[in-house]
């Protein structure tokens, strides 16, 4: 214990580990100010102890479509109880750090709701919530760092240090997260295949699925490689519904792993290691990635360390602590300083420089990092989610995803590549990878009379291909739900995904298909232009038939432009013979759209 009764609690809700990393960093900062710190995921915290806490910092990601992460669902549910008295948390001073992405409509909703609920329960906010935004050029740090700088002085005012005690200086070295032990015993390194087949696969216990096909679906001339990958579910018992997502955990390639060992001469590739946690509440990595029984350093570099991620400011801070090379240390500290933020952005964020590239620039400092601190320096590889593109009804015991391989140029000579999409594109049929399914956030209408309008350009069409096949798996019975698909891509002949399926359904009168091929003509035509051509139809579908609208895909402007197209459709002059039919005003159209969102009749699943 630091100083008697000087306790600070950090609680996090983290879906991919980002919020967890940040929570752990806050825990380290709190040590400087002589707090006795506990860092826990919200669901691991005994919620009954919440009224006893004086200082709590909440780190809360928003995932999917405005939802809270899985590891805080129980905690959040408890807080929502109607029978919690309003004075429950009077002793608490709190702050909420939100991590989100403003390309989503429900930006940082989980953090915003948490903040409001805590206020309702009588807790006192130290600061307004921080709203970290992935869309910012400097990423989440742009909101987080200034917020934390404001936080500590305020906390010290409320809980001052006693006479004669100073905070530890910023360059004190906190204890490493894990202890690393070298072990010699020969233990099997094979992934533990479960002897029984538990029915429930999850992030803690993925299913090792076999890749059965990996096919490029864009034409050879097209600039982008897009893959349709088929997985064999066999007897796993895994089921899914349209809109569900599948999560996969990528690994680093052999050549990148070799480059990592070049900058860390203190590592021995084949040395077996075992981790233990330095604090009872700090979790170890999942056993299926780094077995508790032991793993080689090479396995760690391949499966766990995300050294191709873009380093955050905390990386430069930690690296500087170990550096004894004057030139390198000076530059590292410059990147950490307030004055050096512009330089840091130009060096690191703007060109999307990877941690590996940075380590090569600072190779002298890299060689000085003790092995156990590498687990604080390098974040863990996060799983990635993909919308499932197949329907279990048309592809039984199979699961398909549509993956666009991410590759682009910045001013760095080597092109930037997506870790996961590149890894997926190289998977050879027969290989097994771990994956698990998670419920999607799209909710489809139950009433079969409700038409469904789907707008899904590019790979955004994935959940819609799943839904369409699901709806059309059997021969038509005559009366079936009307389906409208607005699909957009660059060229009819290059990247028109699932064209044979959809054109065939269109011919049978079972799908209304509108395509926008943006580069097939001099003018760019996008999905919203097709919607503009069909305003009357859309208006009638929305107002008279109460259609539901789904928008999915990867484009920053697209959701706004599609919503605008809906607005314009609602405002069109529709002379359908009724006497009281003035065209709607903008206000009325906006109000209708807001209502649609509340009733789940307009749902967006967009990503960037």
């Amino acid at each position: 214990m630091m100083i008697f009764e000087r306790n600070l609690l950090v609680l996090y809700g983290s879906q991919t580990g980002t919020a967890q990393d940040l929570a752990e960093r806050i825990g380290r900062e709190a040590l400087r100010f002589r707090f006795n710190v506990k860092v826990l995921e919200m669901d691991d915290f005994e919620v009954q102890l919440l009224p006893d806490q004086y200082i709590v910092i909440f780190v809360c990601s928003t995932t999917g479509q405005g939802e809270e992460p899985d590891n805080m669902k129980k905690f959040w549910r408890f807080l929502l109880r109607r029978d919690l008295p309003q004075n429950s948390l009077l002793a608490m001073n709190f702050g909420v750090l939100g991590l989100g992405d403003s390309s989503y409509q429900k930006f940082n909703f989980a953090a915003k709701k948490l903040h409001k609920r805590l206020l309702q329960l009588g807790a006192k906010p130290i600061l307004d919530p921080a709203l970290g935004d992935d869309q910012h050029d400097m990423g989440l740090d742009a909101a987080i760092n200034p917020w934390l700088e404001n936080l500590w002085p305020m906390i010290l005012q409320m809980f001052p240090l006693p006479e004669g005690i100073q905070p530890l200086s910023p360059d004190f070295l906190p204890p490493a997260k894990y202890s690393v032990t070298k072990i010699d015993s020969v233990t099997s390194t094979a992934h533990q295949s479960p002897t029984s087949h538990p029915p429930y696969y999850s992030a803690k216990n993925p299913y090792n699925v076999e890749v059965s096909q990996n096919v490029r679906v864009t034409s050879a001339e097209h600039f982008q490689d897009v893959r349709l990958i088929t997985f064999d579910l066999n007897d796993s018992g895994i089921t899914y519904s349209p809109g569900d997502v599948v999560l996969v955990q990528p690994t680093n390639s052999d050549d990148k792993v070799d480059m990592l060992f070049q900058v860390f001469p203190q590592l021995a590739k084949h040395q077996r290691l075992s981790l233990s946690s330095n604090k009872v509440e700090t979790k170890l990595p999942p056993d299926w990635i780094l077995p508790a029984a032991g793993f080689t350093t090479e396995e760690c570099a391949r499966r766990y360390w995300d050294f191709l991620s873009i380093p955050r400011k905390s990386f430069f801070e930690l690296l500087a602590r170990f550096s004894s090379d004057e030139m390198e240390r000076e530059k590292l500290l410059e990147f950490v300083s307030a004055e050096g933020q512009q330089e840091l952005f130009n060096y690191c964020n703007r060109p999307r420089r990877t941690m590996l590239e940075v380590l090569h620039d600072f190779y002298k400092s890299a060689a000085q990092v003790p092995v156990e601190y590498l687990f604080d320096l390098i974040p863990a590889i996060k799983p990635r989610a993909f919308s499932i593109a197949s329907s279990a009804k048309t592809n039984p015991k199979q699961l398909q995803i549509l993956v666009a391989v991410v590759q682009y140029k910045t001013k760095l000579s080597e092109p930037r590549r997506g870790l996961c999409s590149t890894w997926l594109s190289k998977l050879v049929p027969g290989v097994r990878i771990p994956l698990w399914v998670r419920s999607g956030t799209l909710r489809f209408p139950t009433d079969p009379a409700t038409p469904v309008i789907m707008i899904g350009p590019g790979t955004g069409c994935s959940p819609f291909r799943s839904y369409i096949n699901d709806q059309r798996c059997c021969e038509t019975t005559g009366s079936e739900r009307d389906l409208y698909l607005y699909f957009g891509c660059r060229n009819r002949t290059h990247d028109f995904f699932f064209s044979d399926e959809w054109l065939s359904l269109e011919q049978q009168g079972r799908l209304h298909l509108s395509c926008a091929f943006s580069r097939d003509q001099p003018d760019k035509i996008y999905v919203q232009h097709r919607m503009d051509e069909q305003r009357l139809l859309l208006r009638r579908l929305l107002i008279h038939q109460r259609a539901w609208v789904f928008v999915a895909g990867n484009a920053k402007q697209m959701p706004d432009q599609v919503t605008q197209a809906l607005r314009m459709a609602l405002m069109i002059d529709d002379d359908d013979g009724a006497s009281n039919n003035d065209a709607w005003t903008l206000d009325k159209a906006n109000h209708y759209i807001t209502e649609m969102i509340k009733q789940s009749r307009l749902q967006l699943e967009t990503w960037s």
């Binding site: 040590l31 009954q48 429950s88 709203l131 030139m327 530059k331 590239e357 620039d361």
Partner: protein, 264 residues
């Protein structure tokens, strides 16, 4: 070991004190026994002897000891880790004192500071350190005294499916729907300052200093400042090698058309 090795400022605290003697692997129990008897001449209130490996397990109540004597028996094998010191300070009273011997090259004063001790002294001649605990006790009087509502003490609270919940969407209002303005998310890359390297000999440093517009040199593929072989972090703004990894000085590097004409 005898009392004589203990610094006088510690000895003076022994009268009426509750003392903890910590000993470790390699030390002889007889030595420990002998010493604690010697201590009785100092009229301590109570003397407790504990082996390091049993310290945490014993779970002494907090704020118990006013004097702790640690690792003072040969061969002084124990190293005072942060975790060990955290436990020691937990069970010590305010204004208490710890005295110990640290033979390893562990940064003992850093660990002591981190654990919350103050007034740290280290005698390098005999590797003996002393440190005090702060003289206050926070928290006991500042707890708000209100009864915790019983709903918070239900043991099965988390799994109760029947309980009614508030509508979480009602928590938000119009202002929560506002998203950040797109411009606020950008960092200006074009007006960011262009940096000259430390020992700039190409004139960029002077030009920047004079505030003049800088003409980009395009044809020279040799280093003006001698820093080109380093990574991008150390290269100047006009370096033709920007974007490439670091290389060994003297190595010949082929520059592409694009790199020779960065303005095009």
């Amino acid at each position: 070991m005898s009392i004589s090795i203990i610094p006088p400022e510690v000895v003076s605290r022994l009268k009426d004190a509750t003392v903890l003697i910590l000993w470790g692997p390699g030390s002889s129990p007889e030595d420990v026994q002998k010493f604690s008897q010697e201590l009785s001449s100092q009229q301590c209130n109570r003397v407790v002897v504990e082996h390091f490996e049993r310290l945490v397990v014993s779970g002494h109540p907090k704020s118990t000891f006013s004097v702790v004597l640690s690792n003072l028996f040969e061969p002084h094998t124990t190293s005072h880790s942060f975790d060990l010191l955290s436990e020691v300070i937990r069970i010590m009273k305010p204004s208490g004192i710890v005295c110990g011997k640290e033979l390893s090259d562990l940064k003992i004063s850093a660990n002591l500071k981190l654990a919350g001790f103050c007034n740290i002294t280290v005698d390098s001649s005999n590797s003996i350190f002393c440190a005090q605990t702060p003289n206050f006790e926070v928290g006991s009087s500042s707890k708000l005294s209100f009864a915790k509502p019983s709903v918070w003490t239900l043991s099965d609270a988390l799994v109760d499916d029947q309980v009614e919940l508030i509508n979480e969407d009602d928590l938000l209002d119009e202002s929560d729907l506002i998203k950040p303005d797109a411009e606020s998310l950008r960092v200006c890359g074009t007006t960011g300052k262009r940096k000259a390297c430390k020992d700039c000999s190409c004139g960029l440093a002077e030009e920047l200093g004079a505030g003049q517009a800088v003409k980009t040199t395009t044809t020279s593929a040799t280093s003006s400042c001698g820093s080109c072989y380093l990574g991008d972090a150390f290269r100047c703004a006009s370096c033709p090698y920007l974007g490439m990894p670091a290389f060994k000085p003297g190595e010949k590097i082929q520059l592409s058309e694009r790199q020779l004409n960065p303005d095009l």
